[in-house]
Symmetry: C2
Subunit: 292 residues, 2 copies
C-alpha cells in the first residue's frame, strides 16, 4: 500500500490501536509520518516509544497535546504548567527519534471555562499567561507550541481559543519558532476570516500543523466525535489546502478523526480509507514538492 | 405577577402553547411585550392574530422568521424570496396591531449549505443577493430585516451567517432602517470580536433585536435544543447587556429558549422563571430608562 508522502496518520484516528500496532499499521499503509498522542506514548513509556518510533522509520508530525491551563493561580494551575513542561520534553525526545523531517510540535488545547465561572475573558487571559511561562521552555527545547483554535461549540468546556485570529493574537508576542498555530479544517471551516488568517499565519511563519477532517450534520450525541473522512462532509478542501500551500506550509498534513464508527472499524481499513480520502480531496491541491 | 418593562417573551420559549394562550400567559405574567413566530400566527390566520394581539395590549418585539435563501437561482429560490416578501408584510401588520413601541423587525435565519455542496462562500454570497432583492420591500413596508448570526455549529445546515461581524458586513450596504442585525447571546458569546462588533452595530444603528439565553454543556443530542434560562450557564450577561446598552439599544429584550425540558414544563412556570432569570442576571445591567 502507499500513501501520499505528506500524509500523516494522527493516531487518534485509530484510537484503540496500541502504540506498537499504530506504528505497524501506519508503516503497512505506506505512510511516512504519524501524529502521536501522549497517553499511548505513556502507556509504553517514553524511551520505549522513542525506540519503536526510530525503528519504524516514520517521521513524527506532532504530539497531542498540552494545554488545559485556564485555571486561576493555585496548585492545580501549577500542576498543569508542570505537565506542559513534561509534554515539551516528550515532544523534543520523540522528534529526535523520528525520521529526518520530523516536527517538534506540541499541539495545545487551551482548556475551558473553570466550573461555575462565567469569566471567559479571564480564562482567555490565563492562556496568554501560560504561554508566557512556557515559551522559554519550548524555545530551549527546540519545540514549537502549536495553539489549536477549537470549534466554538467547544469554547465552554474544552478550549477558550475559538478562532485562528485569536490563536495568532496569542502567538505573536513570541518567536515563531516557539509558538505557532494549528490550522484544522474541522475547527475553522465556518469562519469568514479563515482564509485571511491562514495568509496571516503563513506570513509570520506560524503554521505549525495542518490537520484535515470533515464536518457533517446531524452532529452525533457526543459532539466531540463529529469528525469524518475528508470528502464526506461540507468542507471545501480545495480552498483550504490551496490557502495553506499559498501560505508557504510545506510540512506533513495530519488526518485526525474522532468518530465512534471509524474507531470501531477494522484498523487496516481505516488506515487505507484515510489515505484514499486524502488522495481524492487534499492531494490534488498540493504542490509537487514534498517534505521528505 | 410582574416582569421587567423591557422583557419580551419569545413565544418559542413556550413553543407548544397555542397563539391565544401564549398571549394570555404573557399578559398574565406581567410582560408588556412578546416575540412572535410565523407558524403559530398562520395557524390562527394573520388577521385574527393581529386582532388578538391588539386586544392583548402587548407590544410585539419581532417576528421569527424569514431567510432560508441560500439556494442557487431557480424555482425553489424564487419561492423562498416570495415567502420572505409575505413575511415582511406580516411583520408590518403585526407591528401595526401591537401596542405603541412595537418593533417591525423580521428575524432572518440565512439557511445552510445546499445539500451535496461544499460551496460555503457561494451560499454566503447568495445571502447578500437575497438581501439586495428584499431590502426595497422591507423599506417600503417600514420593516427592518434583522440578520441573525447563528452559532458556527449551525453553519452547515441552518445558517451560513456565523458571526456578528459577518452579519454587519452583509447589512451595511443597506439603509439601517431596512437591514439590521440580531444580537443573541447564545450565538455569539464565544466570539472574541463580539464586544467590538456590538459597538460597531450600535454606531451604525443596526441593533434591531437583543435576545438572551444561556449556553451550558454537555450539549443535548439535538444541538438545536441547547438553550437555557439566563444565568444557568457560562454566559456573562453583565458584559453583554452593558455592551448592548452602551451601543444605544433601547428596545425590548427577548428571552428565546429552545429546550425540551423547558418546553415540557408547565407554561405559567416557564413564564415566571423566564422573568425571574431576567430580573436576576440581565435587568441589573440595564439603564433605568425603558421603551414604553
Amino acid at each position: 500500500m502507499s500513501a501520499h508522502p505528506r500524509l500523516s496518520l494522527n493516531q487518534a484516528t485509530i484510537k484503540y490501536a496500541p502504540f506498537h500496532e499504530a506504528l505497524r499499521l501506519t508503516v503497512a499503509g505506506g505512510y511516512e509520518s504519524i501524529g502521536l498522542w501522549r497517553e499511548p506514548v505513556a502507556a509504553v513509556g517514553l524511551d520505549e516509544a522513542a525506540r519503536r518510533l526510530a525503528d519504524s522509520g516514520l517521521r513524527v508530525s506532532s504530539l497531542c497535546r498540552g494545554g488545559f491551563f485556564t485555571l486561576p493561580e493555585g496548585a492545580e494551575r501549577r500542576a498543569a504548567i508542570d505537565e506542559n513542561r513534561r509534554a515539551i520534553d516528550e515532544t523534543a525526545a520523540l522528534a529526535a527519534a523520528g525520521a529526518p523531517g520530523s516536527a517538534a510540535v506540541l499541539v495545545l488545547v487551551a482548556g475551558g471555562i473553570p466550573a461555575g465561572s462565567t469569566d471567559l475573558a479571564g480564562a482567555r487571559a490565563r492562556v496568554a499567561d501560560a504561554l508566557a511561562e512556557l515559551a522559554p521552555d519550548a524555545a530551549s527545547a527546540g519545540v514549537t507550541l502549536a495553539i489549536e483554535p477549537l470549534h466554538p461549540m467547544y469554547a465552554s468546556d474544552r478550549a477558550v481559543v475559538s478562532t485562528l485570529e485569536q490563536a495568532l493574537d496569542l502567538a505573536e508576542p513570541f518567536d515563531a519558532a516557539a509558538v505557532g498555530v494549528v490550522v484544522d479544517t474541522f475547527h475553522i471551516w465556518w469562519d469568514p476570516e479563515a482564509f485571511a488568517q491562514i495568509a496571516r499565519a503563513g506570513a509570520s511563519g506560524r503554521i505549525a500543523s495542518y490537520q484535515v477532517c470533515d464536518w457533517a450534520t446531524p452532529l452525533p450525541a457526543d459532539v466531540l466525535l463529529a469528525r469524518h473522512y475528508p470528502g464526506d462532509g461540507v468542507i471545501d478542501f480545495a480552498a483550504f489546502t490551496e490557502a495553506v500551500e499559498a501560505a508557504g506550509y510545506t510540512g506533513d498534513i495530519e488526518v485526525e478523526i474522532f468518530n465512534q464508527g471509524i474507531w470501531d472499524a477494522p484498523w487496516p481499513e481505516v488506515v487505507e480509507r484515510t489515505a484514499a480520502s486524502f488522495d481524492r480531496v487534499v492531494a490534488p491541491h498540493l504542490a509537487a514538492s514534498v517534505t521528505a
